[in-house]
Symmetry: C2
Subunit: 712 residues, 2 copies
């Protein structure tokens, strides 16, 4: 790629971004789009829909930038929760890292690279290949490479310093956030699995007996988990019907209530849909009650056990309960509305095996993903298509059609396949036996991250047959050399990738095209009300890996092709302001992991540093500077030691709260809050939603109330 | 090696063993040797020294075998403790494994190997090479190899089954042993390190305040650890002098008390040694008191904290105490007399770094051990010796001398170097920051185990340059092939190794030659009393690795050369009876880890199985049966999964006791024992022995009493 081509690409993409921003600043002011661009504010009742038309609505402005910029960190934290705060810190951290990196890169490394003459590119500045700005252009054996060598050390030092202080800062935030939180059920509750129920006894009695025996002073109550998959689907059906019914009744529109009962509502005799729905609802309700009454038999060997204090729960959590470590396994309970009821595998062995199977499946998908993609892409070759669909022959011969097909279809197919990855990983993680959505999301985030790094970074770098790629990692000695040969040559591709894929992705995140379209369609054709309007949750599991990929690219290419850094800086700036806007206005913080995504970010940064070092070892070897190659060896070791230290120093804080925290918080609560009221709420907090009493027919407002009490 | 040579070697070594046994059965009955062959009984007062001469003493008999065989497992357990019990279970487990293996090996695999004709060895039976009995003799591509294939599966299944039940059995023993134990200080006490002492406060106050704040209901007392290296050496000097003094006074032998005060006691004026010693002792005592009084300043940021219940201690152990995980680090306290006072590094970072350094040093020693040995062995070449010591030329030319030097010196040097390994590993482990002798020994055991497997097994198998050997492990793909080529060819060496090294080692363990000699010398020349007679502790860290090496050999060679199995069975039979004898009569159980050596045995067995599978993969490939090579792949995976399961199922039991156990035991104690008396003892249990009041001059019987109370 030559410089002018890059500049053209930058120009086009900047233009696209501005177009998106302009459209956004106009569209966001249209009342119909309020559920697209400010659903969170709608849910929180901070804005109302509607309003009169005026000219100002059609003028683009940048008011949203100011609004997104304004809130202080503290306000943002209390407003959007710790997870969102940590998410924004990824951008701040990346900005810090790449500002330092960018200064060193553009003012020191870039001139040195450009002054080299290894590639002997004699074209004028505009037609220079981008490779002239990369380390490949430095002459072999040149002493100037020692500048790159020092830069690697300095940059690693800076990144580690920033990582350390970021971890320290977020740890303190996490503790502060905990201290400032109100008493929450999940802080007092554990999920206990593998309860050994003796024949002739029930799970309920066994739990009661065990905890009253061994934790008499802190045990409060429990609720046994039951298998409710069937019931759940019945309740869902009933919910849907109930909504339709309410909707119909509100309309009070006789003609609409008439429908034919035959095929597609077009044939057969006319019936009153209201009557019809009410009858179906009654049937379902009967089924639900029948199902609920037989639930005693479906007790799983698991229970949510609540304690009087957080410290009491921590004691039961940390000390192995039973002599047999596969029984009475305790784990922290998630927030009540975060519990993932459908997949509640209890048996120790089953969960262990499903975990192993998921790991294998995940590794399989990650490593071999590109093979089916390549095969499908191969099918889009013109001659193949002509052979399969002979009637298309005429159209395919048109030059514009053939250009579109060969030019865009393969990348479209890749994008299509890629878009299936986050849901697939979510599915795999949910099979793994996690008990909450937030855990599933966190685990899927890690999976998608490795998937992205492998399939975007390594697959592009090590293009060749899939088998060859896997082989590289069976010969550890060869890795630095192979990477050092392959990575710099892909520099221009990745610079273009940042500009096209990165900038556009972040702008379209703001614009929310698909939501906008679906909102438009539903408003125009279905005339749906906003009754069933669900505010979106931020998909951390697909966003964090994407952002981290750019971080990995930046660190890896820092000494190889520092030209990438300014473009990354623009990406992170855009990302910061846009995601701040989205988190304040669009995404609703429903679950809170307490910042547990940060360790993933930390380890991926360490990984990128190590990758940089390995490539540096190889590149100094290729550049005939073996001494530098050897002297860089301590760097990955020191980095790993640093990581090890951070894991020991900070990771425990992100895993569990300390005795000091828990006891302080417990004592503060005893003084501040009305705890007996909270305990009453706690006792029913972890009832399965499918077990609530069904009351649709009576049409009460709170149409479900607890049917099965935990104490029955 | 040919069959007749092996039989000769077996004959010689059997003869040697019988000689040892005969000598043992005679010598053990001599009164002078009682401290050599029954020191434990002497210490426990079960036998008395002396007795009249009679003829029976000179007749060899096998009464000791009966005595060793007689006690039931329960008696042995209560007599020698759980560690010794677990040690004996290693023999029982190995006997079980190799009985099964031996039956399959000798009756199925051996005939099949012998019937093959790959090696076309036409010599008569007596002169057959041992290789004819190994898998190398089976024809390439022969379907008979499927028998070996099935044997690998069956044997792995049996070993895993036995491993599982052994782990289960020992877990239950560990729990029973815990239930039957009396209240012991270590069960109620934790060592707390990284105490953040604020300026202006003392460590003592900080600990008191912290535990009274956060564990008010269970905290009992504590004693701060002080740096006492200097004091310790002074006290040791005083102890020695005191012993000499008492000895002299008892003798009341005037001439002996006279000594010249000059060089070597030969010149100078005559002094009364009694006076002289008493004066020195007085000086040292003054020094000790001075040192003790300045100890307040030498407080380390560590303390032994005792709790009222075991469960209370477990709570403080398992829950991270402070927000900063590098402060208030808790760990289980060892038995009071097991504490390793000299090396008490407190800082988190220092301990972490010394741990890393030790790991690196240990890996370095393990991998590169053979290089210095080979160099030193090279120096013993005759021409080298002649060049260095020209005056020896005459002697070296004698054929007998040259044979001894070239034949025995190299192996003598190897043995000499090897004998330094266990003490070196003990030293390394003690630098690692462990706080008790038993932990140091356990850690050294693992180190010596890997050292032995690498330097005896791999170094012999992969003979070649050291660099070449390390290289193999950088090319994982090649490992099975290289091992499959190298391992079977060393079969006859290892069969001979079992017979010579194994049998002799176990017989000399019974005979205790060095102790016998040193006892004889000290009795004859020094006329020492048995006052300072120290009963020996069993060196688990050198014995377990040796025994496990034979286990690894047996499993690895099971399908390759089953001829090794009968010899191993004899080894384990001898070992069982001899070590039972030694544990009952010789070794004193001083520290108790509660069977914590078993997980090491378990993992080394799993390692040997995996090694066998890897070699099998290679050997089926070499034998042109690639299908078997592929079909054996699930075996190591299944074995690793089995191991993973065992780690989850049993390892936690060997690490900590469960809440159930602790609470039951606490309640039982409250009913059974006079706990307030025990609490009083507990408060002073963890005082540094160097801090006891020195009272030599007053000559009281209990010549040291606590000087510094924990509560001061």
């Amino acid at each position: 790629m030559i410089l002018s081509a890059l500049l053209t690409s930058v120009g086009i993409n900047l233009g696209l971004c501005f177009l998106f921003f302009t459209l956004y600043s106009i569209l966001r002011k249209q009342p119909g789009n309020i559920t697209v661009y400010a659903p969170r504010l709608v849910v929180e009742g901070k804005v109302k829909e509607g309003g009169h038309f005026n000219l100002e609505r059609l003028l683009p402005n940048a008011g949203w930038v100011r609004q997104a910029w304004q809130p202080s960190e503290e306000d943002f934290l209390s407003n959007s929760g710790l997870d969102a705060f940590v998410f924004m810190r990824i951008f701040i951290f990346s900005l810090k890292v790449f500002s330092f990196g960018g200064i060193i890169g553009t003012f020191i490394l870039l001139p040195i690279n450009y002054m080299g003459s290894q590639l002997s590119d004699d074209s004028d500045f505009q037609h220079k290949s981008l490779d002239s700005f990369s380390i490949s252009n430095v002459n072999n054996g040149s002493n100037r490479l020692w500048v790159h060598f020092s830069a690697a050390y300095i940059f690693t030092g800076i990144v580690c310093y920033l990582l350390y202080y970021e971890y320290l800062y977020l740890s303190s935030k996490r503790i502060t956030y905990f201290y400032s939180s109100k008493p929450q059920p999940q802080q007092f509750t554990l999920l206990v699995r593998g309860i050994p129920v003796l024949p002739g006894s029930t799970c309920h009695d066994t739990v009661e007996r065990f905890f009253q025996e061994y934790h008499p002073s802190t045990y409060l109550s429990h609720s046994v988990v039951r298998r409710t998959n069937k019931l759940q689907s019945l309740v869902n059906d009933a919910d849907k019907l109930y909504k339709k019914l309410t909707h119909l009744k509100q309309k009070n529109d006789a003609p609409e209530r008439q429908r034919r009962d035959g095929c597609l509502g077009l044939f057969g005799r006319k019936v009153d849909t209201l009557d019809h729905y009410e009858r179906s609802l009654g049937d379902i309700e009967d089924n639900v009650r029948m199902e609920q009454s037989s639930l005693e038999a479906k007790e799983l060997q698991a229970a949510f056990v609540s304690f009087k204090t957080r410290f009491g729960a921590a004691i039961a959590l940390h000390i192995q309960e039973s002599v047999n470590p596969t029984e009475w396994i305790t784990e922290k309970a998630p927030e009540p509305h975060d519990v993932y009821w459908p997949f509640f595998t209890v048996s120790f062995i089953k969960r262990w095996i499903s975990k192993l199977v998921v790991y294998v499946a995940c590794a399989f998908i990650t490593v071999l993903f590109l093979i089916p993609v390549a095969i499908v892409q191969g099918l889009t070759h013109l001659d193949q298509l002509e052979m399969w669909f002979p009637f298309l022959k005429g159209i395919l011969r048109l030059s514009i059609v053939s250009q579109v097909i060969t030019g865009y279809l393969p990348s479209l197919i890749l994008q299509l396949f890629l878009s299936f990855v986050p849901p697939t990983m979510i599915m795999l993680s949910s099979l793994q036996g996690y008990i909450s959505w937030s855990q599933i999301q966190k685990s899927a985030c890690t999976k998608v991250l490795w998937f992205t790094i492998w399939n975007i970074f390594f697959a592009n770098v090590l293009s060749g047959s899939a088998l060859y790629r896997v082989n590289v990692f069976l010969e550890p000695k060869e890795i630095p050399r192979i990477l050092a040969e392959a990575v710099p040559s892909q520099a221009s591709f990745f610079i273009a990738y940042v500009v096209t894929s990165g900038w556009t992705a972040i702008a379209s995140e703001l614009f929310r095209l698909t939501t906008l379209l679906s909102n438009f369609i539903s408003r125009t054709f279905c005339r749906n009300n906003d009754d069933d309007f669900e505010p979106p949750l931020i998909p951390y599991h697909s966003e964090i890996p994407r952002i981290r990929l750019f971080g990995v690219l930046g660190v890896t290419y820092f000494i190889l092709a520092p030209l990438i850094l300014p473009f990354l800086l623009i990406y992170f700036c855009l990302g910061y302001i846009i995601f701040r806007n989205q988190l304040l206005k669009v995404y609703v913080p429903k679950y809170e992991t307490g910042g547990k995504f940060w360790p993933t970010v930390h380890s991926s940064t360490i990984f990128s540093l190590i990758l940089m070092h390995i490539i540096a070892i190889g590149i100094f070897g290729l550049k005939k500077l073996p001494l530098a190659s050897i002297l860089i060896l301590p760097l990955p070791i020191l980095t790993l030691l640093f990581n090890e230290y951070c894991q020991k120093r900070f990771f425990p804080i992100f895993k569990n709260y300390s005795a000091e925290c828990l006891i302080k918080k417990d004592r503060a609560d005893q003084n501040e809050h009305n705890m007996s009221e909270f305990y009453d709420k706690l006792a029913n907090a972890y009832n399965d939603p499918a077990l609530m009493r069904v009351k649709y027919s009576e049409r009460s407002d709170s149409h479900r109330s607890p049917l099965l009490h935990s104490s029955e």
